[in-house]
Assembly symmetry: C2
Homo-oligomer: 418 residues x 2
């Protein structure tokens, strides 16, 4: 049996990820590869580290991708830090807070959680109070929660953590390169990003950065793999009085030896994905962080104006809305999945449903990276209106696109391409 060549449809992807990949990123992925220890490749590794520092707005020495999808970076960072019995505080305001909890529990942390209603975020002081009460080793929190479309302010929590000698770990998978994150200014000790959202690179890598406070914790658990360790390595390990990191793949002490000057073989770096990440970062830095964040905001505003003018409601507290995800209340009596299917099948547009208690209650529309451009916003609004009419919903016809166009005019940015 012979298989046909790959033949995929071209979609307008308006989910909160994976989103459309920048064509320049797609192009570099077809570059012939070089070997992992070829100086031509290790210099690309070093360059990616440098570019990541800029995007994370940090002076940390360590900034590199973990070779896996977004949650691989989260697990790598947490499992390299957590020793059994360590207290971890996880404030939860959506699905991905639960994921943090889940990972910490598996690595036998003593996990404390606090929850707020989905659609809200925490008052920073509330979290600080809890940190003071519990005195955790780590506070781990999501920055942009895609499941509810909310963004958590972090700076005061970060400052308090630093003062109280608590390690502050942030999941910025949905916010990196789409909205402001200042790792050093916000006192974030370790942070994890994803590639398939605002970076507009395919899924498969998870960039992380962490400072010397976390490095110290990890160094105490350092291990060099048998089969490549030297006598000196083995001698150093005799003095280790902290347990080694449970995972080999996610052992950051070993990733450091691979990304650092020692270049000790651990895995074989995912060459083409690194090419893609480099190009994605290059595009972000070329556009400029401020310009890029502003662009995301402009398209989000146009989308929201269109949605509301149609007569649909937006979900969640607007004061803490994540600029890269817009949650739309599903009108009563509408078959939410039928609407999504018709959008995909007739218009080639993908929007997202949601998780857990929000399943069937909201649709989620992303405005992320390369997907976040005027023609996509306008096409999605027009299509959604048509599909809702087809589903018998009483929308204000003809208003959505006018409102979106007005929104673009108001910011005087008609010419913004992407």
């Amino acid at each position: 049996m012979t298989y046909a060549e790959l033949n995929t449809p071209l979609r307008t992807i308006m989910t909160p990820g994976p989103v459309e990949v920048d064509p320049r990123v797609l192009r570099v992925m077809s570059t012939p590869i070089v070997g992992q220890f070829d100086p031509a490749f290790t210099s690309i590794m070093n360059e990616v580290m440098e570019m990541l520092r800029k995007v994370f707005q940090t002076n940390n020495e360590w900034a590199f991708p973990v070779d896996g999808t977004s949650r691989s970076g989260i697990e790598a960072l947490l499992c390299s830090m957590i020793e059994p019995g360590d207290k971890v505080l996880v404030p939860i305001f959506g699905r991905f807070g639960h994921l943090l909890t889940e990972i910490c529990e598996r690595y036998e942390a003593d996990v404390y959680t606090m929850e707020c209603e989905w659609g809200e975020v925490f008052d920073e002081q509330e979290v600080i109070n809890e940190i003071q009460k519990i005195s955790p080793k780590i506070t781990a929190i999501v920055h942009g929660e895609t499941s509810t479309g909310r963004i958590q302010p972090l700076q005061k929590i970060g400052a308090a953590c630093r003062e109280l000698d608590v390690l502050f770990v942030v999941d910025a998978v949905a916010s990196i390169a789409g909205t402001e994150i200042k790792v050093d200014d916000w006192f974030i000790d370790g942070i994890v990003a994803g590639t398939q959202k605002c970076l507009s690179v395919p899924s498969g890598m998870s960039p992380i950065t962490y400072n010397e406070r976390i490095e110290k914790v990890i160094a105490a658990r350092k291990k060099v793999e048998r089969g490549i360790s030297t006598a000196e390595d083995r001698e150093n390990e005799i003095e280790r009085d902290h347990p080694i990191i449970k995972s080999n793949y996610f052992d950051i002490s070993m990733l450091q030896d691979y990304w650092g000057p020692r270049r000790l073989n651990h895995h074989t770096e995912a060459t083409s994905m690194l090419y893609a990440l480099r190009e994605g970062l290059r595009i972000v830095l070329d556009e400029g962080l401020e310009t890029r964040f502003n662009r995301h905001r402009i398209h989000e505003q146009a989308l929201m104006a269109g949605i509301e003018s149609m007569g649909l409601g937006l979900f969640g507290n607007p004061d803490c809305k994540l600029p890269t995800v817009t949650c739309v209340k599903i009108p009563d009596g509408v078959d939410a999945e039928s609407v999504r299917c018709m959008l995909l099948n007739e218009f080639g547009i993908e929007i997202a449903s949601s998780f857990g208690s929000l399943k069937g209650k909201i649709w989620r529309i992303g405005t992320m990276g390369y997907s976040c451009r005027k023609e996509n916003i306008l096409f999605t609004l027009g299509a959604l209106e048509a599909v809702l009419i087809r589903h018998g919903v009483n929308v204000h016809t003809g208003k959505a696109l006018q409102a979106a166009l007005d929104s673009y005019t108001m910011v005087g940015k008609e010419s913004i391409g992407q």
Copy 2:
């Protein structure tokens, strides 16, 4: 500061991985992506599962890639099987046997090892005797050991494991799609492959397959993630009397729910890498497994003939030579790294050094996947001769290429393209 566009040299990659990527694979990587739950994508996921079954020569239901480099698949399989205190037997005949040991120990297995000299493999009966003595839950072994260039016969060990109710796990990262592996006929319960070697796909995915014997072990530890679990899921988990799997990312019970009909969100599948894997598998199946294995053998023979005619020695027991890796003894007094550097810098050819006790003693030359073709073999032999002469080595000049050409003529395969 602006960064320049990606600009890499074109190399002849003759290491045991990562090797040159098939141009057709590179091309599909620049395909625009679709969403992870788009029917256009889930049908590709199903197709990849089907193709993997054929390449693994198995009827197993479960065959899918883990999103990470090769060792991620090894860790996923082992950590989903191992509960603390489980006995695991690891026969070690090179560096990657040590990796298996290392992973098992981290997950608190009670690890038993047996070692043979690097350059040899085990007599199967010797391993079976040890299995009978120890009665492990799992026997884990490497099939093709890239560090020493040896291949371990597996069928009798597999049959004995099945008879003794031991789970048999194999690391086939360096052998898959380059030399025969019959998962079902050899009684292999779980097996792990890599993409960046004989599949000629970039590094970044690790295809695995396992049968119902392993599925049963994993099902007893099943967990559905908080934030997406149903009331029924949580009820089922109350009855679980085995510990949950330590890693979230590598929890195969969750990967199954993502790759299976339930399509429960776990990670976001690495879209472009899956496109690449599909194309790599398509090419393998189109060439045909037997033809492909034969092609690897033909080029290996030509390479060995050239090396020996030059007057260089081959390392290791020839009876168990891995057809995809040829280990060359470094002549006395030669600066091995200087030779490798000159090959790279003057000829653009990369060959590999080795690990541990073999470091400085052997070079390793791969004949894998797309790199394994006549012009690469001939270019490498010619270049190596020239570089060795330049390093003052007394080689038999002019013999290597003649011997390689003769080798090709002898098998009557002058026209073999790749």
